[in-house]
């Protein structure tokens, strides 16, 4: 009240350029709704075009934002820094690919609205990436979540899809409610909703341990749901399996990027002190990383469905990303690199899975039996992606893993903490376990003999497949020359 209202308005107006990419998204969102309602009947793909254009514009604006380093706007609600900007570029680009994926895959139905939902989800993730306020963070999480529920349930062509949507929505809502309760407690403890602010940290420092434990763990439940780390991973296999493959591709990649960035910021803010809550945050992240890597990889061993398998794989990768967050110090490059690697690999995988689903009508491993000889290129590419998912050279997955290991090792060298060493060892050993299930794909495709002659349906999405090959090429290229990416991240 003391500040004159004009000054506040000036400040808001000054903040507006920071919001330019999101304006593009918003405009795209509104246009997409309009075109889906009115133009889709006459002009096929017009909504997709609008979406793509708006995403393109967003990416362009984001590139313009790259030089900006750590600026806030909208009364400290909006935070633009390099990490956020790059993450948003990644999110937008990946969303563009997903939109293309959906466009290629779901041509028959009138799917105009799905693009608007996609754009809204993107906006939510942008929010996650560029805020330090719990309020916005919660809105972002809810936005992404609800958009995701809608995307999963959008087609509802069969039982599995609707079931997946319900499980996702209910599980997510419960987690959101728990997180909200945790946030309320945290608000009570600190009186401030900005987790980077001194007041917030001060409040956490002085609060009693049980309350801090309670509130932090409850908050982590919400974030954990989005990241699907153990023990909040249970929804992901069912949902991944039940969703349409294009949506699974979306779920496994983009929302995680946003949540990771948020979590990174929170962890960064919290872990910098020597008080109990920092210790607690570290404890949580270590335990969760270990559990996710172990359980994700172990449970994947027995999967028969590729999409389910990828769900566990992404749980395991989340564990690895936790490691990356844990070791984050002053440069986000390896974290971001690993994110890029993760997105690239998963997108490529799901493009292949989708293609095979179209050809064989199934996503079970068994249906790949003996297909290696019929689709050698596809399965070779698939194998390369599997290699990258394991983290073997010469792929991007290896470089990512190496960088994360480096960072973790550095913190080990400084701290001599046995649990960190455990992280390293488990991270390394689970790679061995993961070999076993990732390589079931080439195993079935190349090594197992085909029992009976299968008739492959013809496929329409050749363009999508070539995008997949392009991604595989990137996986290899960045595996050999990671600098091509890293030099961009200055």
């Amino acid at each position: 009240m003391n500040v004159p209202i004009t000054a506040i308005l000036d400040q808001i107006l000054a903040s507006l350029p920071l919001f330019k990419p999101e304006f593009c998204l918003t405009a795209g969102f509104i246009c997409a709704i309009a075109t889906a309602l009115f133009a889709e009947q006459r002009l096929k793909n017009v909504t997709f075009t609008v979406t793509a254009l708006s995403l393109g514009a967003t990416i362009y604006c984001l590139f313009l934002q790259v030089p900006i380093s750590a600026t806030t706007g909208f009364s400290g609600m909006w935070l633009v820094d390099k990490l956020g900007t790059y993450a948003r570029i990644l999110i937008s680009t990946a969303t563009l690919l997903i939109a293309f994926f959906i466009q290629q895959r779901h041509t028959r139905q009138q799917n105009g609205d799905i693009y608007s939902m996609l754009l809204a989800a993107t906006l939510g993730m942008h929010v996650l990436c560029s805020t330090s306020s719990w309020l916005l963070a919660f809105i972002g999480i809810e936005m992404v979540s609800i958009a995701s529920y809608l995307l999963v349930g959008y087609f509802s062509q069969n039982k599995a899809q609707s079931e997946a949507a319900m499980k996702y929505a209910l599980f997510g809502s419960v987690c959101a409610a728990v997180m909200l309760y945790g946030l309320s407690l945290m608000y009570g403890l600190t009186g401030n909703l900005d987790f980077k602010s001194a007041q917030h940290l001060q409040g956490l420092m002085t609060a009693s341990e049980p309350l801090v434990t309670l509130s932090i763990l409850f908050v982590c439940v919400g974030i954990g749901f989005k990241l699907s780390f153990v023990p909040l991973h249970l929804w992901s296999p069912d949902v991944y399996q039940g969703s349409p493959t294009a949506i699974t591709a979306f779920l496994s990649t983009v929302p995680k990027v946003g949540a990771i960035i948020l979590f990174t910021r929170v962890y960064q803010a919290w872990s910098s002190t020597s008080f109990y809550f920092s210790e607690l945050a570290t404890w949580i992240i270590v335990v969760v990383a270990l559990a996710s890597m172990l359980i994700g990889n172990l449970a994947a061993l027995r999967q028969k469905d590729v999409k389910r398998l990828m769900a566990y794989s992404s749980i395991a990768h989340t564990g690895f990303l936790m490691m990356a967050i844990f070791a984050y110090q002053d440069t986000f490059r390896y974290l971001f690199f690993y994110l890029v690697a993760y997105v690239l690999m998963n997108l490529a995988t799901f493009i292949f899975i989708d293609h095979l689903e179209q050809r064989t009508g199934s996503t079970t491993l068994r249906s790949y039996m003996g297909l290696g000889r019929k689709l050698p290129l596809l399965f070779s590419a698939f194998t390369i992606v599997a290699v990258s998912l394991i983290g073997l050279p010469p792929t991007i997955g290896f470089i990512g893993k190496l960088m994360v290991f480096s960072a973790v090792f550095d913190s080990y060298q400084d701290g001599q903490d046995t649990s960190v060493l455990l992280l390293l060892v488990v991270g390394a050993l689970t790679a061995v376990i993961s070999l076993f299930f990732y390589f079931r794909i080439p195993l079935y495709a190349f090594i197992r003999k085909e029992d009976d002659f299968k008739h492959l349906q013809s496929s329409s999405a050749g363009l999508l497949l070539s995008v997949g090959y392009g991604l595989v090429f990137l996986v290899l290229l960045l595996g050999l020359f990671p600098q091509l990416l890293l030099d961009l991240l200055l």
Partner: protein, 182 residues
């Protein structure tokens, strides 16, 4: 013991009691009506926290919107369950599902344990606010302040939530519409 205490306890008992009843009866329709009472009582509690606008919104949005929605959805879908009402209604409450009950109790115990430390040390910021008397007073115009805050400090979430609501609306509509074409 002042009046507001008595009223507070009354609202609290109403909220907790109806909530307990809500979860323990088998009849979903009655449960939903009980939810109405809970939400109403909660709104009353908000008033005691000097959040009049929140209380109004609660009643408007929840009681007016959500609850109706719930009941409609329930009516639309669960005809079979509605017919069940008569068969199971002879027992008002259902036996608690033991593991869930245990888990909820443990939750409660832990929450209460954690909150027990609240009395001893009030968070500093609250103490500070109490000290310089910058508490929200019952006399203050809350709604004006909130309107001001929404348009200045919280303008961004305010705008974003509009997109969010629109998306949720279209999406929910789309999904419900889907059912119309078999």
């Amino acid at each position: 013991m002042s009046v507001d205490f008595i009223l507070f306890y009354a609202f609290a008992v109403m909220a907790i009691g109806s909530a307990l009843l809500l979860v323990s009866i088998r009849n979903t329709a009655r449960a939903l009506f009980l939810l109405f009472i809970v939400l109403f009582a909660m709104a009353g509690l908000y008033l005691f926290a000097l959040a009049d606008f929140v209380a109004i919104t609660q009643i408007l949005v929840y009681v007016g919107g959500v609850l109706i929605l719930l009941i409609f959805a329930f009516m639309l879908s669960n005809k079979s369950l509605l017919s069940d009402i008569h068969t199971v209604s002879h027992r008002l409450t259902a036996l608690p599902n033991l593991p869930s009950f245990l888990l909820a109790s443990v939750f409660l115990a832990i929450l209460l344990f954690a909150l027990s430390s609240w009395n001893n040390n009030m968070p500093e910021w609250m103490a500070a606010a109490e000290a310089d008397g910058s508490l929200i007073q019952p006399t203050e115009n809350n709604i004006r302040m909130l309107g001001f805050k929404f348009m200045t400090q919280y303008v961004l979430p305010f705008e974003i939530i509009s997109i969010f609501l629109m998306m949720a609306l279209i999406g929910a509509a789309h999904i419900s519409r889907k059912g119309e074409r078999p």
